[in-house]
Protein backbone atom coordinates (compact mmCIF):
# COMPACT_ATOMS: atom_id res chain seq x y z
CA UNK A 1 0.00 0.00 0.00
CA UNK A 2 1.30 3.44 -0.94
CA UNK A 3 0.73 5.47 2.20
CA UNK A 4 1.69 8.83 0.64
CA UNK A 5 -0.93 8.24 -2.04
CA UNK A 6 -3.50 7.17 0.54
CA UNK A 7 -2.73 10.29 2.60
CA UNK A 8 -3.38 12.53 -0.41
CA UNK A 9 -6.64 10.70 -1.08
CA UNK A 10 -7.91 11.21 2.50
CA UNK A 11 -6.66 14.80 2.52
CA UNK A 12 -8.64 15.60 -0.62
CA UNK A 13 -11.77 14.03 0.92
CA UNK A 14 -11.41 16.41 3.85
CA UNK A 15 -10.71 19.41 1.63
CA UNK A 16 -13.84 18.60 -0.40
CA UNK A 17 -15.93 18.14 2.74
CA UNK A 18 -14.83 21.50 4.13
CA UNK A 19 -15.39 23.28 0.81
CA UNK A 20 -19.01 22.08 0.74
CA UNK A 21 -19.66 22.35 4.44
CA UNK A 22 -20.88 25.94 4.77
CA UNK A 23 -24.16 26.62 2.99
CA UNK A 24 -24.86 29.92 4.68
CA UNK A 25 -23.52 33.18 3.26
CA UNK A 26 -25.20 35.93 5.30
CA UNK A 27 -24.10 37.84 7.27
CA UNK A 28 -20.96 38.46 5.24
CA UNK A 29 -18.90 39.56 8.22
CA UNK A 30 -19.37 36.09 9.69
CA UNK A 31 -19.27 33.70 6.76
CA UNK A 32 -16.60 35.33 4.60
CA UNK A 33 -13.92 34.83 7.27
CA UNK A 34 -15.26 31.35 8.11
CA UNK A 35 -14.93 30.26 4.46
CA UNK A 36 -11.55 31.98 4.19
CA UNK A 37 -10.23 30.00 7.14
CA UNK A 38 -11.57 26.63 6.00
CA UNK A 39 -10.10 27.13 2.51
CA UNK A 40 -6.70 27.99 3.97
CA UNK A 41 -5.20 24.56 3.55
CA UNK A 42 -3.02 22.82 6.08
CA UNK A 43 -1.83 19.24 6.35
CA UNK A 44 -5.18 17.93 7.66
CA UNK A 45 -3.30 15.60 10.02
CA UNK A 46 -6.03 15.50 12.67
CA UNK A 47 -8.78 14.27 10.31
CA UNK A 48 -6.33 11.72 8.92
CA UNK A 49 -5.76 10.44 12.46
CA UNK A 50 -9.52 10.16 13.03
CA UNK A 51 -10.00 8.14 9.84
CA UNK A 52 -6.99 5.85 10.35
CA UNK A 53 -7.91 5.20 13.99
CA UNK A 54 -11.42 4.27 12.95
CA UNK A 55 -10.03 1.81 10.39
CA UNK A 56 -7.50 0.42 12.85
CA UNK A 57 -10.30 -0.88 15.09
CA UNK A 58 -12.39 -2.28 12.25
CA UNK A 59 -14.50 0.74 11.29
CA UNK A 60 -14.63 2.41 7.89
CA UNK A 61 -12.91 5.72 7.21
CA UNK A 62 -16.03 6.99 5.51
CA UNK A 63 -18.21 6.92 8.61
CA UNK A 64 -15.60 8.98 10.47
CA UNK A 65 -15.36 11.75 7.86
CA UNK A 66 -17.77 14.05 9.75
CA UNK A 67 -15.71 13.75 12.93
CA UNK A 68 -12.48 14.19 10.97
CA UNK A 69 -13.78 17.45 9.53
CA UNK A 70 -14.93 18.44 13.04
CA UNK A 71 -11.37 18.05 14.36
CA UNK A 72 -10.01 20.19 11.54
CA UNK A 73 -12.61 22.93 12.09
CA UNK A 74 -11.90 22.83 15.81
CA UNK A 75 -8.16 23.15 15.08
CA UNK A 76 -8.88 26.19 12.91
CA UNK A 77 -10.99 27.76 15.65
CA UNK A 78 -7.97 27.58 17.97
CA UNK A 79 -5.72 29.12 15.31
CA UNK A 80 -8.03 32.10 14.71
CA UNK A 81 -8.30 32.95 18.41
CA UNK A 82 -4.63 32.19 19.19
CA UNK A 83 -3.55 34.47 16.36
CA UNK A 84 -5.45 37.35 17.97
CA UNK A 85 -3.84 36.67 21.35
CA UNK A 86 -0.38 36.26 19.81
CA UNK A 87 -0.70 39.32 17.57
CA UNK A 88 0.22 37.11 14.59
CA UNK A 89 -0.11 38.80 11.20
CA UNK A 90 0.26 35.82 8.91
CA UNK A 91 -0.39 32.08 8.85
CA UNK A 92 0.31 29.63 6.03
CA UNK A 93 1.34 32.57 3.85
CA UNK A 94 -1.95 34.42 4.25
CA UNK A 95 -3.15 37.26 6.48
CA UNK A 96 -4.75 36.15 9.73
CA UNK A 97 -8.46 36.91 10.20
CA UNK A 98 -7.98 39.75 12.68
CA UNK A 99 -5.45 41.39 10.32
CA UNK A 100 -7.54 41.00 7.17
CA UNK A 101 -10.76 42.00 8.95
CA UNK A 102 -10.54 43.08 12.60
CA UNK A 103 -10.40 41.63 16.09
CA UNK A 104 -14.16 41.60 16.57
CA UNK A 105 -14.66 39.69 13.34
CA UNK A 106 -11.96 37.22 14.38
CA UNK A 107 -13.49 36.65 17.82
CA UNK A 108 -16.91 36.04 16.34
CA UNK A 109 -15.90 33.89 13.39
CA UNK A 110 -13.74 31.84 15.77
CA UNK A 111 -16.80 31.30 17.96
CA UNK A 112 -18.82 30.26 14.92
CA UNK A 113 -16.07 27.81 13.88
CA UNK A 114 -16.29 26.12 17.27
CA UNK A 115 -20.05 25.72 16.89
CA UNK A 116 -19.61 24.51 13.30
CA UNK A 117 -17.12 21.91 14.51
CA UNK A 118 -19.90 20.52 16.73
CA UNK A 119 -22.29 20.65 13.77
CA UNK A 120 -19.96 18.38 11.77
CA UNK A 121 -19.30 16.09 14.74
CA UNK A 122 -23.01 15.66 15.49
CA UNK A 123 -23.65 14.37 11.96
CA UNK A 124 -21.81 11.21 13.01
CA UNK A 125 -24.02 8.14 13.17
CA UNK A 126 -22.89 6.15 16.18
CA UNK A 127 -24.58 4.63 19.21
CA UNK A 128 -21.64 6.09 21.15
CA UNK A 129 -22.31 9.70 20.08
CA UNK A 130 -22.63 10.98 23.67
CA UNK A 131 -19.24 9.50 24.61
CA UNK A 132 -17.75 10.92 21.40
CA UNK A 133 -19.14 14.38 22.14
CA UNK A 134 -17.83 14.25 25.70
CA UNK A 135 -14.30 13.37 24.56
CA UNK A 136 -14.47 16.21 22.03
CA UNK A 137 -15.76 18.69 24.65
CA UNK A 138 -13.16 17.80 27.27
CA UNK A 139 -10.57 18.27 24.52
CA UNK A 140 -11.79 21.83 23.94
CA UNK A 141 -11.56 22.60 27.67
CA UNK A 142 -8.03 21.19 27.81
CA UNK A 143 -6.92 23.20 24.77
CA UNK A 144 -8.15 26.37 26.49
CA UNK A 145 -6.14 25.42 29.58
CA UNK A 146 -3.06 24.83 27.41
CA UNK A 147 -3.40 28.21 25.72
CA UNK A 148 -3.86 29.90 29.12
CA UNK A 149 -0.63 28.30 30.37
CA UNK A 150 1.15 29.32 27.16
CA UNK A 151 0.11 32.96 27.65
CA UNK A 152 0.97 32.84 31.39
CA UNK A 153 4.46 31.54 30.56
CA UNK A 154 5.17 34.63 28.46
CA UNK A 155 5.30 36.83 31.53
CA UNK A 156 6.49 34.24 34.05
CA UNK A 157 10.14 34.42 35.01
CA UNK A 158 10.49 30.78 35.95
CA UNK A 159 9.20 28.02 33.71
CA UNK A 160 10.58 24.49 34.07
CA UNK A 161 10.78 21.82 31.37
CA UNK A 162 8.01 19.95 33.24
CA UNK A 163 5.73 23.02 33.08
CA UNK A 164 6.38 23.22 29.37
CA UNK A 165 5.58 19.54 28.86
CA UNK A 166 2.27 19.96 30.71
CA UNK A 167 1.46 22.97 28.54
CA UNK A 168 2.09 21.21 25.21
CA UNK A 169 0.29 18.11 26.44
CA UNK A 170 -2.78 20.34 26.84
CA UNK A 171 -2.30 22.73 23.96
CA UNK A 172 -1.11 20.34 21.24
CA UNK A 173 -1.13 16.69 22.27
CA UNK A 174 -4.69 16.63 23.60
CA UNK A 175 -6.18 17.49 20.19
CA UNK A 176 -4.16 14.70 18.56
CA UNK A 177 -5.25 12.24 21.20
CA UNK A 178 -8.89 13.36 20.95
CA UNK A 179 -8.66 12.66 17.20
CA UNK A 180 -7.44 9.10 17.66
CA UNK A 181 -9.92 8.41 20.49
CA UNK A 182 -12.89 9.68 18.51
CA UNK A 183 -11.84 7.66 15.47
CA UNK A 184 -11.65 4.63 17.74
CA UNK A 185 -15.07 5.30 19.29
CA UNK A 186 -16.71 5.61 15.87
CA UNK A 187 -15.13 2.28 14.93
CA UNK A 188 -16.57 0.92 18.20
CA UNK A 189 -13.17 0.21 19.76
CA UNK A 190 -12.81 -2.07 22.78
CA UNK A 191 -11.43 -0.54 25.96
CA UNK A 192 -7.85 -1.72 25.36
CA UNK A 193 -7.84 -0.46 21.79
CA UNK A 194 -9.18 2.89 22.92
CA UNK A 195 -6.47 3.27 25.56
CA UNK A 196 -3.81 2.39 22.99
CA UNK A 197 -5.14 4.99 20.54
CA UNK A 198 -5.27 7.61 23.30
CA UNK A 199 -1.66 6.94 24.32
CA UNK A 200 -0.49 6.84 20.70
CA UNK A 201 -2.13 10.24 20.13
CA UNK A 202 -0.63 11.85 23.21
CA UNK A 203 2.86 10.69 22.38
CA UNK A 204 2.70 11.59 18.70
CA UNK A 205 1.27 14.99 19.65
CA UNK A 206 4.05 15.72 22.09
CA UNK A 207 6.73 14.57 19.67
CA UNK A 208 5.17 16.73 16.98
CA UNK A 209 5.45 19.89 19.12
CA UNK A 210 9.02 19.22 20.27
CA UNK A 211 9.97 18.48 16.65
CA UNK A 212 8.43 21.86 15.78
CA UNK A 213 10.65 23.55 18.37
CA UNK A 214 13.68 21.72 16.93
CA UNK A 215 12.85 22.63 13.33
CA UNK A 216 12.75 26.29 14.30
CA UNK A 217 16.46 26.04 15.05
CA UNK A 218 17.85 23.32 12.78
CA UNK A 219 15.52 23.11 9.76
CA UNK A 220 16.31 23.84 6.17
CA UNK A 221 14.74 27.30 5.71
CA UNK A 222 13.54 26.64 2.18
CA UNK A 223 11.84 23.35 3.00
CA UNK A 224 10.44 24.49 6.34
CA UNK A 225 8.82 27.48 4.70
CA UNK A 226 9.35 29.87 7.57
CA UNK A 227 12.34 31.81 8.80
CA UNK A 228 14.66 29.99 11.14
CA UNK A 229 15.00 31.18 14.72
CA UNK A 230 11.58 32.79 14.98
CA UNK A 231 11.01 31.30 18.44
CA UNK A 232 14.31 32.78 19.66
CA UNK A 233 13.51 36.20 18.21
CA UNK A 234 10.15 36.13 20.02
CA UNK A 235 11.79 34.84 23.21
CA UNK A 236 9.39 31.87 23.30
CA UNK A 237 9.98 29.46 26.15
CA UNK A 238 10.46 26.36 24.02
CA UNK A 239 11.67 22.91 25.02
CA UNK A 240 15.14 23.84 23.71
CA UNK A 241 15.43 27.08 25.68
CA UNK A 242 14.24 25.51 28.94
CA UNK A 243 16.34 22.38 28.48
CA UNK A 244 19.45 24.47 27.63
CA UNK A 245 18.82 26.67 30.66
CA UNK A 246 18.70 23.61 32.91
CA UNK A 247 22.06 22.43 31.55
CA UNK A 248 24.00 25.66 31.02
CA UNK A 249 26.50 27.21 33.42
CA UNK A 250 28.37 30.52 33.61
CA UNK A 251 28.17 32.91 30.68
CA UNK A 252 25.86 30.69 28.60
CA UNK A 253 23.39 30.47 31.48
CA UNK A 254 23.43 34.26 31.90
CA UNK A 255 22.72 34.67 28.19
CA UNK A 256 19.79 32.25 28.30
CA UNK A 257 18.37 33.93 31.39
CA UNK A 258 18.59 37.19 29.47
CA UNK A 259 16.36 35.74 26.75
CA UNK A 260 13.84 34.57 29.37
CA UNK A 261 13.72 38.02 30.95
CA UNK A 262 13.95 40.36 28.00
CA UNK A 263 11.77 38.31 25.72
CA UNK A 264 13.83 37.92 22.60
CA UNK A 265 17.10 37.65 20.69
CA UNK A 266 18.36 39.89 17.89
CA UNK A 267 18.37 38.16 14.47
CA UNK A 268 22.16 38.39 14.24
CA UNK A 269 22.54 36.44 17.51
CA UNK A 270 20.50 33.41 16.44
CA UNK A 271 23.62 31.49 15.43
CA UNK A 272 25.20 32.06 18.82
CA UNK A 273 22.18 30.63 20.61
CA UNK A 274 22.00 27.69 18.26
CA UNK A 275 25.57 26.87 19.32
CA UNK A 276 24.60 27.11 23.00
CA UNK A 277 21.71 24.72 22.32
CA UNK A 278 24.18 22.31 20.66
CA UNK A 279 26.90 22.58 23.26
CA UNK A 280 24.63 22.18 26.27
CA UNK A 281 23.13 19.07 24.68
CA UNK A 282 19.66 20.58 24.50
CA UNK A 283 19.33 19.68 20.83
CA UNK A 284 20.34 16.09 21.49
CA UNK A 285 17.90 15.93 24.39
CA UNK A 286 15.09 17.18 22.18
CA UNK A 287 15.94 14.67 19.45
CA UNK A 288 16.03 11.84 21.99
CA UNK A 289 12.69 12.92 23.45
CA UNK A 290 11.10 12.92 19.99
CA UNK A 291 12.57 9.51 19.13
CA UNK A 292 11.48 8.10 22.47
CA UNK A 293 7.93 9.39 22.09
CA UNK A 294 7.61 8.13 18.53
CA UNK A 295 8.91 4.69 19.54
CA UNK A 296 6.50 4.55 22.49
CA UNK A 297 3.66 5.66 20.25
CA UNK A 298 4.42 2.89 17.75
CA UNK A 299 4.61 0.32 20.53
CA UNK A 300 1.01 1.15 21.43
CA UNK A 301 -0.08 0.00 18.00
CA UNK A 302 0.48 -3.70 18.80
CA UNK A 303 -2.76 -3.49 20.83
CA UNK A 304 -4.65 -2.91 17.59
CA UNK A 305 -5.62 -5.48 14.98
CA UNK A 306 -3.33 -5.99 11.99
CA UNK A 307 -4.83 -3.64 9.40
CA UNK A 308 -3.95 -1.02 6.82
CA UNK A 309 -5.13 1.63 9.29
CA UNK A 310 -2.70 0.41 11.92
CA UNK A 311 0.20 0.20 9.47
CA UNK A 312 -0.47 3.69 8.26
CA UNK A 313 -0.60 5.05 11.84
CA UNK A 314 2.91 3.62 12.22
CA UNK A 315 3.99 5.23 8.96
CA UNK A 316 2.48 8.57 9.99
CA UNK A 317 4.36 8.65 13.30
CA UNK A 318 7.65 8.10 11.45
CA UNK A 319 6.80 10.66 8.81
CA UNK A 320 5.99 13.32 11.40
CA UNK A 321 9.32 12.67 13.09
CA UNK A 322 11.30 12.95 9.86
CA UNK A 323 9.28 15.82 8.45
CA UNK A 324 11.07 18.87 7.23
CA UNK A 325 7.83 20.88 6.97
Amino acid sequence: MDFSQQYLEYKSQIDDYLARFINESKPDTLYKPVRYVLAGGGKRIRPLLVMLSCEAVGGSAKESLHAGAAMEILHNFTLVHDDIMDNADARRGRSTVHTRWDTNVAILSGDALLALAYRALLRTKSPRIQEISKVFTEGVVIVCEGQAYDKEFESRKRVRVEDYLLMIQKKTAAMVSVSTQIGGLIGNAKEGELAALKNYGEMVGRAFQIQDDLLDVVADEKKFGKTIGGDLVEGKKTFLLLEALKRARGKDKAKLLGVMRNGGVARKDIGRFRRIYEQTGAIDAARKQVEHDIRSAREQLVQLRDSDGRSMLGWLAEMLMHRTF
Copy 2:
Protein backbone atom coordinates in the same frame (compact mmCIF):
# COMPACT_ATOMS: atom_id res chain seq x y z
CA MET B 1 -49.19 27.39 43.38
CA ASP B 2 -47.01 30.41 44.19
CA PHE B 3 -45.07 30.94 40.99
CA SER B 4 -42.79 33.65 42.42
CA GLN B 5 -41.78 31.23 45.17
CA GLN B 6 -41.30 28.42 42.67
CA TYR B 7 -39.16 30.69 40.49
CA LEU B 8 -36.86 31.49 43.44
CA GLU B 9 -36.59 27.78 44.23
CA TYR B 10 -35.53 26.89 40.65
CA LYS B 11 -33.22 29.90 40.51
CA SER B 12 -31.42 28.78 43.64
CA GLN B 13 -31.04 25.26 42.23
CA ILE B 14 -29.30 26.77 39.20
CA ASP B 15 -27.13 29.08 41.30
CA ASP B 16 -26.05 26.09 43.41
CA TYR B 17 -25.34 23.99 40.33
CA LEU B 18 -23.18 26.71 38.81
CA ALA B 19 -21.32 27.33 42.08
CA ARG B 20 -20.32 23.64 42.25
CA PHE B 21 -19.81 23.12 38.55
CA ILE B 22 -16.13 24.07 38.13
CA ASN B 23 -13.74 21.77 39.96
CA GLU B 24 -10.60 22.94 38.17
CA SER B 25 -8.62 25.89 39.46
CA LYS B 26 -5.42 25.94 37.37
CA PRO B 27 -4.47 27.82 35.31
CA ASP B 28 -5.64 30.86 37.27
CA THR B 29 -5.91 33.08 34.22
CA LEU B 30 -8.58 30.74 32.86
CA TYR B 31 -10.59 29.61 35.87
CA LYS B 32 -10.65 32.81 37.93
CA PRO B 33 -12.57 34.69 35.24
CA VAL B 34 -14.76 31.63 34.54
CA ARG B 35 -15.80 31.42 38.21
CA TYR B 36 -16.20 35.20 38.36
CA VAL B 37 -18.63 35.13 35.45
CA LEU B 38 -20.69 32.19 36.72
CA ALA B 39 -21.02 33.81 40.17
CA GLY B 40 -22.21 37.07 38.63
CA GLY B 41 -25.89 36.44 39.13
CA GLY B 42 -28.57 37.22 36.62
CA LYS B 43 -32.22 36.26 36.46
CA ARG B 44 -31.51 32.69 35.24
CA ILE B 45 -34.52 32.92 32.93
CA ARG B 46 -33.15 30.48 30.32
CA PRO B 47 -32.63 27.60 32.78
CA LEU B 48 -36.07 28.28 34.20
CA LEU B 49 -37.53 27.94 30.69
CA VAL B 50 -35.70 24.63 30.19
CA MET B 51 -37.07 23.23 33.45
CA LEU B 52 -40.64 24.46 32.96
CA SER B 53 -40.74 23.22 29.36
CA CYS B 54 -39.58 19.81 30.48
CA GLU B 55 -42.35 19.69 33.10
CA ALA B 56 -44.94 20.97 30.65
CA VAL B 57 -44.54 17.85 28.49
CA GLY B 58 -44.51 15.43 31.41
CA GLY B 59 -40.80 15.35 32.32
CA SER B 60 -39.28 16.26 35.66
CA ALA B 61 -37.45 19.55 36.21
CA LYS B 62 -34.62 17.69 37.93
CA GLU B 63 -33.55 15.74 34.87
CA SER B 64 -33.31 18.99 32.90
CA LEU B 65 -31.06 20.78 35.40
CA HIS B 66 -27.86 19.98 33.47
CA ALA B 67 -29.31 21.44 30.29
CA GLY B 68 -30.67 24.44 32.17
CA ALA B 69 -27.21 25.18 33.52
CA ALA B 70 -25.80 24.66 30.01
CA MET B 71 -28.11 27.37 28.64
CA GLU B 72 -27.03 29.78 31.38
CA ILE B 73 -23.32 29.10 30.78
CA LEU B 74 -23.86 29.52 27.04
CA HIS B 75 -25.62 32.84 27.70
CA ASN B 76 -22.66 33.98 29.79
CA PHE B 77 -20.24 32.98 27.04
CA THR B 78 -22.07 35.33 24.67
CA LEU B 79 -22.00 38.15 27.25
CA VAL B 80 -18.22 37.87 27.79
CA HIS B 81 -17.43 37.99 24.06
CA ASP B 82 -20.10 40.60 23.25
CA ASP B 83 -18.73 42.86 25.99
CA ILE B 84 -15.30 42.80 24.31
CA MET B 85 -16.83 43.65 20.93
CA ASP B 86 -19.03 46.39 22.43
CA ASN B 87 -16.26 47.87 24.58
CA ALA B 88 -18.56 47.52 27.59
CA ASP B 89 -16.92 48.28 30.94
CA ALA B 90 -19.56 47.02 33.31
CA ARG B 91 -22.33 44.44 33.50
CA ARG B 92 -24.73 43.77 36.40
CA GLY B 93 -22.79 46.30 38.46
CA ARG B 94 -19.43 44.56 38.08
CA SER B 95 -16.45 45.03 35.76
CA THR B 96 -16.55 43.00 32.58
CA VAL B 97 -13.88 40.30 32.15
CA HIS B 98 -11.83 42.17 29.56
CA THR B 99 -11.80 45.26 31.83
CA ARG B 100 -10.93 43.41 35.03
CA TRP B 101 -8.36 41.21 33.28
CA ASP B 102 -7.64 41.86 29.60
CA THR B 103 -8.98 41.09 26.14
CA ASN B 104 -6.95 37.90 25.73
CA VAL B 105 -8.21 36.53 29.03
CA ALA B 106 -11.78 37.41 28.02
CA ILE B 107 -11.47 35.71 24.63
CA LEU B 108 -10.07 32.56 26.18
CA SER B 109 -12.38 32.33 29.18
CA GLY B 110 -15.31 32.92 26.84
CA ASP B 111 -14.12 30.00 24.72
CA ALA B 112 -13.84 27.84 27.83
CA LEU B 113 -17.37 28.83 28.89
CA LEU B 114 -18.72 27.61 25.56
CA ALA B 115 -16.98 24.25 26.01
CA LEU B 116 -18.17 24.08 29.64
CA ALA B 117 -21.74 24.69 28.47
CA TYR B 118 -21.42 21.53 26.34
CA ARG B 119 -19.94 19.70 29.34
CA ALA B 120 -23.07 20.46 31.37
CA LEU B 121 -25.41 19.67 28.47
CA LEU B 122 -23.75 16.30 27.79
CA ARG B 123 -24.40 15.17 31.38
CA THR B 124 -28.07 14.95 30.39
CA LYS B 125 -29.42 11.41 30.37
CA SER B 126 -31.75 11.17 27.41
CA PRO B 127 -32.16 8.83 24.46
CA ARG B 128 -32.58 12.02 22.41
CA ILE B 129 -29.19 13.48 23.38
CA GLN B 130 -28.01 13.78 19.77
CA GLU B 131 -31.11 15.78 18.81
CA ILE B 132 -30.69 17.91 21.95
CA SER B 133 -27.04 18.62 21.12
CA LYS B 134 -27.94 19.53 17.54
CA VAL B 135 -30.59 22.04 18.64
CA PHE B 136 -28.08 23.53 21.08
CA THR B 137 -25.35 23.74 18.42
CA GLU B 138 -27.56 25.33 15.79
CA GLY B 139 -28.55 27.84 18.48
CA VAL B 140 -24.89 28.80 18.95
CA VAL B 141 -24.44 29.29 15.20
CA ILE B 142 -27.57 31.46 15.04
CA VAL B 143 -26.44 33.59 18.00
CA CYS B 144 -23.14 34.24 16.20
CA GLU B 145 -25.10 35.30 13.11
CA GLY B 146 -27.23 37.62 15.24
CA GLN B 147 -24.21 39.24 16.84
CA ALA B 148 -22.59 39.68 13.39
CA TYR B 149 -25.73 41.47 12.14
CA ASP B 150 -25.80 43.61 15.28
CA LYS B 151 -22.20 44.73 14.68
CA GLU B 152 -22.85 45.26 10.96
CA PHE B 153 -25.82 47.49 11.77
CA GLU B 154 -23.59 49.85 13.76
CA SER B 155 -21.88 51.07 10.61
CA ARG B 156 -24.75 50.54 8.16
CA LYS B 157 -26.60 53.68 7.14
CA ARG B 158 -29.87 51.94 6.32
CA VAL B 159 -31.44 49.43 8.66
CA ARG B 160 -35.14 48.62 8.37
CA VAL B 161 -37.44 47.42 11.15
CA GLU B 162 -37.51 44.02 9.39
CA ASP B 163 -33.68 43.80 9.49
CA TYR B 164 -33.83 44.58 13.19
CA LEU B 165 -36.45 41.89 13.81
CA LEU B 166 -34.30 39.31 12.01
CA MET B 167 -31.31 40.35 14.10
CA ILE B 168 -33.06 40.01 17.47
CA GLN B 169 -34.69 36.78 16.36
CA LYS B 170 -31.15 35.41 15.96
CA LYS B 171 -29.37 37.22 18.75
CA THR B 172 -31.96 36.98 21.52
CA ALA B 173 -35.02 34.93 20.62
CA ALA B 174 -33.12 31.87 19.34
CA MET B 175 -31.55 31.20 22.75
CA VAL B 176 -34.95 31.43 24.43
CA SER B 177 -36.45 29.09 21.89
CA VAL B 178 -33.51 26.66 22.17
CA SER B 179 -34.16 26.59 25.93
CA THR B 180 -37.81 25.65 25.56
CA GLN B 181 -37.06 23.10 22.80
CA ILE B 182 -34.34 21.38 24.79
CA GLY B 183 -36.54 21.23 27.87
CA GLY B 184 -39.23 19.66 25.69
CA LEU B 185 -36.81 17.13 24.19
CA ILE B 186 -35.59 16.03 27.62
CA GLY B 187 -39.23 15.54 28.66
CA ASN B 188 -39.64 13.50 25.45
CA ALA B 189 -42.12 15.91 23.86
CA LYS B 190 -44.27 14.85 20.92
CA GLU B 191 -43.82 16.74 17.66
CA GLY B 192 -46.76 19.11 18.22
CA GLU B 193 -45.65 19.92 21.75
CA LEU B 194 -42.13 20.61 20.54
CA ALA B 195 -43.35 23.00 17.84
CA ALA B 196 -45.50 24.83 20.40
CA LEU B 197 -42.55 25.22 22.78
CA LYS B 198 -40.34 26.44 19.93
CA ASN B 199 -42.90 29.06 18.89
CA TYR B 200 -43.56 30.11 22.47
CA GLY B 201 -39.81 30.63 22.97
CA GLU B 202 -39.35 32.66 19.81
CA MET B 203 -42.23 34.97 20.61
CA VAL B 204 -41.32 35.44 24.26
CA GLY B 205 -37.70 36.08 23.23
CA ARG B 206 -38.66 38.73 20.71
CA ALA B 207 -41.06 40.42 23.13
CA PHE B 208 -38.34 40.38 25.78
CA GLN B 209 -35.91 42.28 23.53
CA ILE B 210 -38.44 44.87 22.35
CA GLN B 211 -39.51 45.36 25.97
CA ASP B 212 -35.83 45.96 26.78
CA ASP B 213 -35.70 48.65 24.10
CA LEU B 214 -38.85 50.21 25.56
CA LEU B 215 -37.57 50.13 29.13
CA ASP B 216 -34.48 52.04 28.05
CA VAL B 217 -36.75 54.98 27.26
CA VAL B 218 -39.75 54.71 29.58
CA ALA B 219 -38.59 52.74 32.64
CA ASP B 220 -38.34 53.89 36.20
CA GLU B 221 -34.59 54.48 36.60
CA LYS B 222 -34.43 53.22 40.17
CA LYS B 223 -36.25 49.97 39.48
CA PHE B 224 -34.59 49.33 36.13
CA GLY B 225 -31.16 49.70 37.69
CA LYS B 226 -29.52 51.35 34.74
CA THR B 227 -29.55 54.88 33.39
CA ILE B 228 -32.39 55.75 31.08
CA GLY B 229 -31.65 56.59 27.47
CA GLY B 230 -28.42 54.62 27.19
CA ASP B 231 -29.43 53.22 23.78
CA LEU B 232 -30.02 56.76 22.47
CA VAL B 233 -26.70 58.00 23.83
CA GLU B 234 -24.95 55.11 22.07
CA GLY B 235 -26.98 55.67 18.90
CA LYS B 236 -28.15 52.04 18.94
CA LYS B 237 -30.53 51.12 16.16
CA THR B 238 -33.35 49.87 18.37
CA PHE B 239 -36.90 48.96 17.47
CA LEU B 240 -38.00 52.41 18.68
CA LEU B 241 -35.49 54.35 16.61
CA LEU B 242 -36.21 52.40 13.42
CA GLU B 243 -39.97 52.47 13.93
CA ALA B 244 -39.92 56.23 14.66
CA LEU B 245 -37.77 56.81 11.58
CA LYS B 246 -40.30 54.96 9.43
CA ARG B 247 -43.12 57.14 10.75
CA ALA B 248 -41.48 60.56 11.16
CA ARG B 249 -41.61 63.42 8.66
CA GLY B 250 -39.88 66.79 8.35
CA LYS B 251 -37.72 68.04 11.21
CA ASP B 252 -38.25 64.94 13.38
CA LYS B 253 -37.14 62.69 10.56
CA ALA B 254 -34.01 64.78 10.04
CA LYS B 255 -33.21 64.54 13.75
CA LEU B 256 -33.62 60.76 13.76
CA LEU B 257 -31.48 60.40 10.64
CA GLY B 258 -28.86 62.44 12.46
CA VAL B 259 -28.80 59.85 15.27
CA MET B 260 -28.45 57.03 12.71
CA ARG B 261 -25.51 58.77 11.04
CA ASN B 262 -23.63 60.33 13.91
CA GLY B 263 -24.10 57.46 16.30
CA GLY B 264 -25.51 59.08 19.38
CA VAL B 265 -27.51 61.72 21.24
CA ALA B 266 -26.30 64.10 23.96
CA ARG B 267 -27.71 63.25 27.42
CA LYS B 268 -29.59 66.56 27.58
CA ASP B 269 -31.47 65.67 24.36
CA ILE B 270 -32.86 62.35 25.56
CA GLY B 271 -36.17 63.93 26.60
CA ARG B 272 -36.59 65.46 23.15
CA PHE B 273 -36.18 62.10 21.45
CA ARG B 274 -38.48 60.40 23.88
CA ARG B 275 -41.14 62.91 22.80
CA ILE B 276 -40.47 62.12 19.12
CA TYR B 277 -40.88 58.42 19.92
CA GLU B 278 -44.19 59.19 21.61
CA GLN B 279 -45.52 61.56 18.95
CA THR B 280 -44.66 59.34 16.00
CA GLY B 281 -46.41 56.44 17.70
CA ALA B 282 -43.22 54.36 17.92
CA ILE B 283 -43.74 53.70 21.61
CA ASP B 284 -47.31 52.57 21.05
CA ALA B 285 -46.14 50.35 18.19
CA ALA B 286 -43.51 48.74 20.41
CA ARG B 287 -46.04 48.17 23.20
CA LYS B 288 -48.48 46.63 20.73
CA GLN B 289 -45.77 44.38 19.31
CA VAL B 290 -44.84 43.15 22.79
CA GLU B 291 -48.48 42.53 23.73
CA HIS B 292 -49.12 40.75 20.46
CA ASP B 293 -46.08 38.49 20.86
CA ILE B 294 -46.91 37.64 24.47
CA ARG B 295 -50.51 36.83 23.54
CA SER B 296 -49.36 34.63 20.64
CA ALA B 297 -46.82 32.94 22.90
CA ARG B 298 -49.51 32.13 25.46
CA GLU B 299 -51.81 30.80 22.75
CA GLN B 300 -49.15 28.22 21.89
CA LEU B 301 -49.45 26.79 25.38
CA VAL B 302 -52.88 25.21 24.69
CA GLN B 303 -50.95 22.55 22.71
CA LEU B 304 -49.38 21.38 25.97
CA ARG B 305 -50.95 19.23 28.67
CA ASP B 306 -52.56 20.97 31.63
CA SER B 307 -49.74 21.08 34.18
CA ASP B 308 -47.99 23.36 36.66
CA GLY B 309 -45.17 23.72 34.13
CA ARG B 310 -47.57 25.01 31.49
CA SER B 311 -49.31 27.39 33.90
CA MET B 312 -45.99 28.79 35.00
CA LEU B 313 -44.85 29.31 31.38
CA GLY B 314 -47.98 31.45 31.00
CA TRP B 315 -47.18 33.34 34.19
CA LEU B 316 -43.56 33.86 33.08
CA ALA B 317 -44.60 35.39 29.75
CA GLU B 318 -46.83 37.88 31.56
CA MET B 319 -44.17 38.66 34.12
CA LEU B 320 -41.56 39.37 31.47
CA MET B 321 -43.96 41.74 29.74
CA HIS B 322 -44.74 43.65 32.93
CA ARG B 323 -41.22 43.55 34.30
CA THR B 324 -39.61 46.74 35.40
CA PHE B 325 -36.19 45.09 35.70
